[in-house]
């Protein structure tokens, strides 16, 4: 793609949501609901059209020029022009996949919001924030400059904060927003330290320092700046990973995601399922050149990912809030993606990101339909029996659940088994990692169909449950569209290709060139291994689904009875989310608060206040002293002027000039 075209497309794709954000904020209150209902989703739709053109351009580009980096705004030079910060964008297969999902799924969710937020008085503010989020996320994935990437990274956290706390009159929403933001800031700090370390340690092949913040230049010089597996690059990658973990809700920075469900459901679908929480996966994939040089850090990433996947799956089994169950499921699936990029299977991770964005947004929106129909009820114990009156929503929810659980031919099956296949050949620990992955499959089947069985089957548990109505068309059509996509995407992508052969398919054919630069450390599983992995993984998923149906649909044996036979410590662990909130409260929050109290009572008055106040007093005193020279009398001023000039002349003529 030529630079001018890339510049125009990149500018347009960013400009639409930004304009939407400003328009909704400034004109929304005046022109009202109709106006924002058109502008809010409309601008994302326009961005999606541009994204389609980008896709066509990137697909059509010759093999060696798939990636275009273009500067659309020259922002600033520092250090006498040595250091340049510009709004540089990269259009390559990786960012194309991201913007397609962000704009495409984002557009459907914006449409859905029109119905979901129908009775909310703050709709202009809502769409303004949502458009801001789309803009920030696009900036993050398109950025080809470290500073711009970090700005996008931080703006994403900001818009997430604003949207989680959208209903700011609810204390729980405000607390959740704060928790999410503080966790994000921990990640941001790690990111910025990593960026500084990168910046200070970059050298070219001749050993000369390179002053740059441009990502392509950084990647091109990575191998000359860092020794393979050296402590510096390992540290940088570990810090970057902390940023990724905060954004992607991975252990130990995961506790904010369930609480973030306080936001409106479209927000959960867009930000806390489809896009923002996968930014960590994108980050590691984008920095793959560095991770290929730091196997220890990459291994840590993989272990954290698979660990989070298991932990979140276990927690999801016992939660009773419909959105929290899906949130833990998101955490678990992103754990798998993080695992994939950790073992170097970048393409597999990105593939699962795409299908997951489709079916997880679908699940959230279908859950939103249920919540909406039941007048904001989120407790699944008070649901049940909805299938008779919400047939279409149930069908869509089922399609999402099949995809999530990994039932053959649904989109999730292709991507998840492809991903786990890489796990089987990833390295010395691969048998163990693969077995854990199989376990995650069982867990996924269990919690996915537990949710479906409890919510849609059985008898309604409240009077309200008998009087529900199907969602209005504007909320139903986006859900059904995603249901179609969740069902068919895998087939469309892989139909013509021999599935068992594990050969190149459309996604890997498209993305692999991006990751070829670093040497693609994850070997493709051979045909035999792939077939075996596929069969075992599918079987595990089916076991999970079957178990769920037996426990929660047919009740033979009943789930309660089984739970009573499991060691109580295990069920408690799941119910209390492994006690992380309690742990952080005891280890971090309380000691910090206690320390702050001590500081305030002891250190502050005794040590700090003394000199701070003293200094302030000095300045205040000086200020008064100086002020007294301002008598208001012109003769004083005149004598002062003559005096000062005379002193100056004497000093200069006789001291400085000699």
């Amino acid at each position: 793609m030529n630079g001018t075209l890339a510049g125009v497309l990149g500018t347009l794709i960013l400009a639409f949501p930004l304009a939407g954000c400003v328009l909704c904020a400034l004109l929304g209150p005046r022109y009202g609901r109709r106006f924002v209902n058109w502008v809010g989703p409309g601008v994302v739709g326009l961005s999606f059209l541009v994204a389609l053109i980008v896709l066509a351009q990137v697909v059509g580009a010759p093999e060696h020029s798939k990636s275009t980096t273009v500067e659309i705004w020259n922002w600033l030079f520092l250090g006498a022009g040595n250091l340049h910060v510009g709004v540089d964008l990269t259009l390559d297969p990786l960012s194309t996949v991201m913007i397609m999902v962000i704009c495409g799924v984002g557009f459907l969710i914006h449409l859905y919001s029109v119905g979901y937020m129908e009775h909310d008085p703050g709709i202009a503010r809502f769409f303004s924030y949502m458009n801001l989020f789309i803009f920030s996320m696009l900036l993050l994935v398109l950025a080809a400059d470290l500073v711009i990437l970090i700005i996008g990274w931080a703006l994403v956290a900001l818009s997430s904060y604003l949207l989680i706390g959208y209903w700011y009159e609810r204390p729980s929403a405000v607390l959740a927003a704060r928790k999410a933001f503080i966790t994000q800031v921990i990640g941001d700090v790690a990111m910025i330290i990593a960026a500084a370390m990168l910046f200070t340690s970059l050298h070219d092949a001749g050993g000369h320092r390179i002053f740059t913040l441009s990502l392509p230049t950084i990647f091109a010089n990575a191998s000359s700046s860092f020794s393979h597996g050296g402590p510096l690059i390992t540290g940088i990658c570990a810090l970057l990973a902390i940023g990724a973990f905060a954004k992607s809700a991975q252990f130990p920075l995961h506790t904010w995601l369930p609480d973030a469900m306080e936001g409106p459901t479209p927000v959960s679908a867009l930000i806390h399922a489809a896009t923002m929480v996968t930014a960590g996966v994108y980050l590691i994939a984008r920095f793959h050149v560095l991770y290929d040089l730091a196997p220890v850090a990459a291994g840590m990433v993989a272990c954290v990912g698979i660990g989070t996947a298991v932990m979140a799956g276990v927690i999801a089994l016992s939660q009773v809030d419909i959105k929290r169950v899906i949130a833990y499921s998101t955490m678990s699936q992103i754990g798998l993606m993080i695992f994939a990029v950790g073992i170097g299977a970048y393409t597999a991770g990105m593939y699962h990101f795409v299908t997951h964005a489709l079916f997880k947004a679908l699940l959230f929106m279908a859950a939103g339909n249920v919540i909406h129909a039941l007048a904001d009820e989120q407790d699944i114990r008070l649901m049940g029996g909805l299938s008779a009156r919400m047939r279409q929503t149930e069908v869509a929810f089922l399609a999402g659940s099949f995809a999530l659980a990994g039932i053959p031919i649904f989109a999730g099956w292709f991507s998840k088994e492809y991903l786990l296949g890489f796990g089987a050949v990833s390295g010395p620990l691969s048998p163990l990692l693969y077995l854990v992955g199989i376990g995650v499959n069982v867990l996924t089947g269990l919690y996915a169909f537990r949710l479906w069985a409890i919510v849609f089957r059985g008898e309604p548990q409240t009077a309200r449950g008998y009087a529900v109505h199907e969602a209005p068309p504007v909320m139903l059509w986006p859900v059904l569209a995603l249901a179609g996509l969740s069902t068919l995407t895998g087939l469309i992508i892989q139909w013509p290709i021999q599935i068992l052969g594990g050969g190149a398919h459309l996604v890997s054919g498209f993305l692999d060139p991006v990751f070829a630069a670093g040497g693609h450390p994850a070997g493709e599983p051979g045909a035999g291994v792939a077939a075996l992995a596929l069969i075992a993984g599918t079987a595990a998923s089916l076991v999970g689904v079957g178990g769920a149906l037996r426990l929660w649909l047919w009740h033979q044996p009943d789930a309660q009875a089984v739970a009573s036979r499991v060691p109580r410590s295990l069920t408690l662990l799941s119910l209390h989310k492994f006690y992380f909130d309690e742990l952080y409260d005891a280890v971090l929050v309380r000691p910090t608060r206690a320390a702050a109290q001590t500081m305030r009572r002891v250190v502050e008055p005794g040590v700090m206040d003394g000199w701070v106040r003293g200094l302030a007093d000095v300045f205040a005193g000086l200020s008064l002293d100086f002020r007294s020279y301002q008598s208001g009398l012109i003769r004083d001023y005149a004598s002062y002027m003559i005096g000062a000039t005379a002193v100056g002349v004497v000093v200069i003529v006789f001291v400085i000039a000699h």
């Binding site: 100086f626 002020r627 000039t645 002349v649 400085i656 000039a657």
Partner: protein, 492 residues
């Protein structure tokens, strides 16, 4: 090249001619017809200013760019048209335009003389523009006096108010004394060299001498009056307090910018031999201005006095850029960038103050209690402006300080930058105090909301606030403009 005929010479002075014409039209209209409404004058002034600014850009075509001959000489070699002077024309016109817009809320106080008021704003602009293009001492002095005398009258224009007259009188006497100091310096230079053009003086001075140092000191000291910097700063608080808020803003921006324009040209063109001396003098003035302005601002209880000391402190920050002049003109570019961005932001602040005072809310800082509720737009603009004046990113004030400090560090003035940083911290105390008063202090819950500002003033307030917020995105093009304008002052 110079032009032989007076008519051809006039072609070099189109913006100045337009300003003069506008001033004459406004002034005559006021004499002929006493009851012309203010919006007519406002429109006339705006038209004049836009035309003058636009016409100046015409000169950019075909301007010589060689370092040895960066522009062409005009008007009997008294003036020069180069990128440096052309940069200042639109900037100064923009300052005046914002002042015109901000004057609507105080129309009542200047009512009998609204025609003269606008005429004087235009003559002051003319003086400032001429000052930016002066290359000779007589033109320099005449332009300076044109600017100063216009300002004396503007300060005293509400002549029924004793405070206004007192301020005008002090300004006049103080200004006259400062002019005397400056004239001594200029006379010495003429006596030493027998030349009046700045380049000629530089050639005539030859090597550094005590007499040259004396002349230099007197010239710089005299100019600190225009800058509102130490040592000739004492008029600033009294004059700002007595003048209307728009005129105070006008003095803080247009007069200061014109002062810096001529200061840079004089020290760079005339005193290459005594560079170490003037660098020392200016570093001293910068340090003293920063300390005095920022520290004394802490103890102020009136808004305009606070802004007055803030303006003394800001003059100090800008002087830090002047000492960063060698080894390249990075410091000059930083100064120009600072002047422009600071001017727009400060004029927005003064427009908001004019609105608050014009609505009868009072002049004490305590009168701004609860302003966020009583006039959200004014409070927001003031808040953004103050944050920018402190220099907190991403406001434009941050970049202005960044460039000045960066240039000063590279020029070897790290100690001055450290002092400037310390004084930035001190300045945060009084700027943030205004924010606290507006947003946190409860104030009188029953206080009536202020009326919506007049539309033109709203425009000025909004331009100031938005400039503070959004210009940060356009740092590079703006700085490149300033860099281009700094070209004619290259080290020789």
């Amino acid at each position: 090249m110079s032009h032989p005929s007076p008519f051809a010479a006039a072609v070099d002075l189109i913006p100045e001619g337009i300003l003069l014409l506008g001033a004459l039209v406004c002034g005559s209209l006021a004499v002929v017809h006493r009851r012309v409404p203010a919006p007519v004058y406002r429109g006339l002034s705006a038209l004049t200013l836009v035309a003058a600014a636009g016409s100046s850009l015409v000169y950019l075509r075909g301007l010589p760019t060689s370092p040895s001959n960066p522009g062409y000489v005009a008007w009997s070699e008294g003036l020069v048209v180069d990128r440096y002077s052309i940069f200042f024309v639109p900037v100064l016109c923009a300052f005046t335009l914002m002042t015109v817009l901000a004057s609507a809320p105080v129309a009542q106080r200047i009512r009998p003389h609204v025609g003269e008021y606008h005429a004087l704003l235009l003559t002051a602009t003319l003086g400032a523009v001429l000052l930016a293009s002066a290359r000779e001492m007589i033109a320099f002095y005449v332009a300076l006096e044109l600017l100063s005398i216009s300002l004396y009258i503007l300060v005293g224009i509400s002549k029924t108010e004793p405070r206004s007259s007192e301020a005008a009188f002090k300004y006049l006497v103080y200004g006259a004394a400062a002019s005397a100091v400056l004239l001594y310096g200029l006379a010495l230079l003429y006596g030493l060299t027998g030349r009046t053009d700045l380049v000629g003086v530089a050639h005539g001075l030859g090597s550094s001498s005590a007499a040259a140092a004396l002349a230099l000191t007197l010239v710089i000291a005299g100019l600190t009056f225009k800058l509102g910097a130490v040592p000739l700063h004492q008029w600033v608080p009294d004059v700002y307090e007595g003048a209307t808020a728009p005129v105070a803003g006008f003095i803080a921006t247009l007069s200061k910018a014109a002062g810096f324009a001529i200061l840079l040209r004089v020290v760079v063109t005339t005193f290459p031999v005594a560079r170490s001396t003037w660098l020392a003098v200016i570093a001293l003035a910068a340090a003293l201005s920063m300390v005095l302005g920022n520290v004394v601002a802490l103890a102020q209880s009136r808004m305009k006095r606070l802004l007055a000391y803030s303006s003394i402190g800001q003059a100090g920050f800008i002087l830090v850029g002047v000492v960063a002049y060698p080894p390249d003109q990075q410091g000059v570019a930083a100064v120009l960038f600072y002047l422009f961005t600071y001017g727009i932001v400060v004029l927005g602040v003064f427009a908001a103050v004019a609105h608050v005072e014009g609505s009868g809310a009072g002049e004490e800082i305590d009168d701004y209690r609860g302003l966020s509720r009583r006039s959200p737009i004014a409070a927001a603009a003031l808040a953004v402006g103050m944050v920018s004046l402190i220099g907190i990113p991403p406001t434009i004030g941050f970049f202005a300080k960044l460039f000045v400090f960066e240039a000063a560090v590279q020029a070897g003035y790290a100690w001055l930058v450290l002092l400037a940083l310390a004084m930035t911290v001190v300045s945060a105390a009084y700027y943030l105090r205004v924010l606290r008063v507006m947003y946190v202090d409860a104030g009188d819950q029953d206080a009536a909301p202020l009326p919506w500002p007049p539309r033109v003033t709203l425009a000025a307030i909004a331009v100031g606030g938005l400039a503070a917020l959004a210009l940060g995105a356009a740092v590079q093009p703006l700085f490149a403009l300033a860099g281009g304008a700094a070209g004619p002052l290259t080290v020789r």
